[in-house]
């Protein structure tokens, strides 16, 4: 116990004695974790947008004109019975027209309605809107529906979702490369810092060894130093991210509200609130920083201080 406390103290001592290198390492680790968290936030949000887009759009099925109410009812039953179907909603022609006006014209919807003299340009456009429990099942559902003779047309958000997914993948790839490079630099700098610390303490370590210090005792101050670098390198950017992310969400909200006050677009573009995303970032960032500091310093010091 005494030894453990002593080693921690020595770790801090190392950290401060080696201040220039320590600061450089902390700065790089910070940059690395900052970007990591930023990309994490971006990825999470994009994913959430894709998910919302998918579930929001669902599959819209239009009927052949000849279909009667009871046939529609029977069809609805058949669809509902299929596995994975969450909800089948009947949208009447009037409802379809109303929601079209709202979504695209917002407050000026009544003007548009006047222009059409109350006629519904979407007459005969009643439909089922089918929401899958699991979005992966959508393709199977579409395949099933297109086989049905009663159905005239199927709309689903394939193109939008696919485009979003493509963007997502691109961002993942790019961020993986950038973060990879930053990681390499961080690892290099931590390793260097620990090497310098080891060189500075060589004499001390020799004396310790002759007095009968165990390897654990000789090495752990350096590991502590590495962990300090990693922890600070995580906490600093996390604090920064918390603040930045909060600001960005607020800004986005005001921007989106300015464009359209309601509707699917706004819902989709709402960012994940900071209170929801930050715990994940905190955990990921801290674990990353601490582990990086721990592992890199451990390996470095093992190489440096062989018995």
């Amino acid at each position: 116990m005494n030894t453990f406390i002593y080693c921690i103290k020595q770790g801090f001592r190392n950290f401060f004695r080696n201040s220039i290198f320590s600061i450089a390492s902390v700065a790089t680790v910070s940059a690395c974790i900052f970007l990591f968290c930023m990309f994490l936030a971006l990825a999470e949000n994009l994913q959430s947008i894709v998910r919302k887009a998918e579930t929001n759009v669902g599959i819209t099925v239009f009927f052949k004109e000849s279909m009667t109410e009871s046939e529609k009812k029977a069809l609805r039953e058949r669809i509902s019975e299929r596995e994975g179907v969450g909800e089948v909603r009947y949208i009447s022609a009037d409802e379809a027209w109303e929601s079209f006006q709202k979504e695209y014209f917002g407050d000026r919807a009544s003007e548009l309605s006047d222009a059409f003299n109350g006629d519904n340009p979407l007459a005969d456009s009643d439909s089922f809107e089918i929401f899958m429990k699991n979005i992966e099942d959508q393709d199977g559902m579409v395949a099933f529906l297109s086989e049905l003779p009663e159905i005239r047309d199927i709309n689903y958000a394939n193109t939008v979702v696919n485009a979003l997914k493509k963007v997502n993948r691109g961002i993942y790839g790019l961020s993986a490369i950038i973060i990879g490079i930053l990681f390499a630099v961080s690892i290099f700098l931590i390793s260097n810092t620990i090497s310098v610390a080891a060189a500075m303490r060589r004499r001390e370590n020799e004396i310790m060894r002759l007095i009968g210090a165990t390897n654990y005792m000789i090495r752990s101050p350096f590991v502590v130093e590495g962990v300090i670098i990693g922890t600070l390198g995580a906490l600093i950017p996390l604090a920064g991210i918390y603040y930045t992310y909060k600001r960005v969400t607020e800004w986005m909200l005001s921007q989106v509200s300015a464009i359209s006050s309601s509707g699917a677009f706004k819902e989709i573009m709402d960012l994940i609130p900071v209170s929801e995303i930050f715990p994940t970032m905190l955990c990921a960032g801290l674990i990353l920083g601490v582990l990086m500091g721990f592992i890199v310093s451990r390996i470095t010091i093992r190489k440096h201080l062989k018995v």
Binding site: N2, Y6, E206, I211, G212, T214, V307
Partner: protein, 256 residues
Amino acid sequence: MIRFRNVSKTYETGSRAVKNLCLTIDDGEFVFIAGKSGSGKSTVIKLITGELKATEGIIEVNGTNLLTIKKRDIPQYRRHLGVVFQDFRLLNDRNVYENIAFAQRVIGASNSEIKKNVADMLRLTGLSAKYQNMPYELSGGEQQRTAIARALINRPDIILADEPTGNLDEQNSEEIMKLLYRINRMGTTVIVVTHSRKIIETSGKRVIYMDRGTIVDDIPGEEGHIYGMYDPLPQEKKRGRSRRRPQDEDESGGLS
């Protein structure tokens, strides 16, 4: 007890520092190791501390076989040894107290134990007034006494001192030797490497002379001769102590 049986040490460079050495040092003995530069004295010390492994032969220290000792057992083994060097090897960024306490921290002693033991050591080495000084604020003798206090604080069975007075003037050397004799009288085995003919000749202790890696002479100490150079030995007696001729004990052996 320290026992070397046919020990040889060849460095990676091929230089044979110790050749076929046989040596026994009993518990509580005081032994000088002397000899020309490069004769292998420091190598012998390093073999005892386990810094070096013998290339051939068996070294046994207090029942521990250094040939077969496991690496992870070496720290525990070293805690029974105290080492002192010519260049003191103090930690320059810590004061006297912390330098002495360092050895106790290494073995995980509690703060209260450390406080008590360091105070004891400071008293023994006469450094009580200087415990807050940094090493560069001390004389060479004081630095070496700090190093000895550090070596002694864990109550080792053996003190190994490689030219402890090599950097000191005569007066400081005398003080250091006095301290080492005193430590020996308290029961600790003490092995001192030295170049000082004067220290050896006035000590009355056992002297092992080395040359080119072997022991060329082993002169036993004089019974009852404890204070070494502080004893009022007649000049003839001192000159009479010569190499290659074990000292015959006579009536002039000093008494304390």
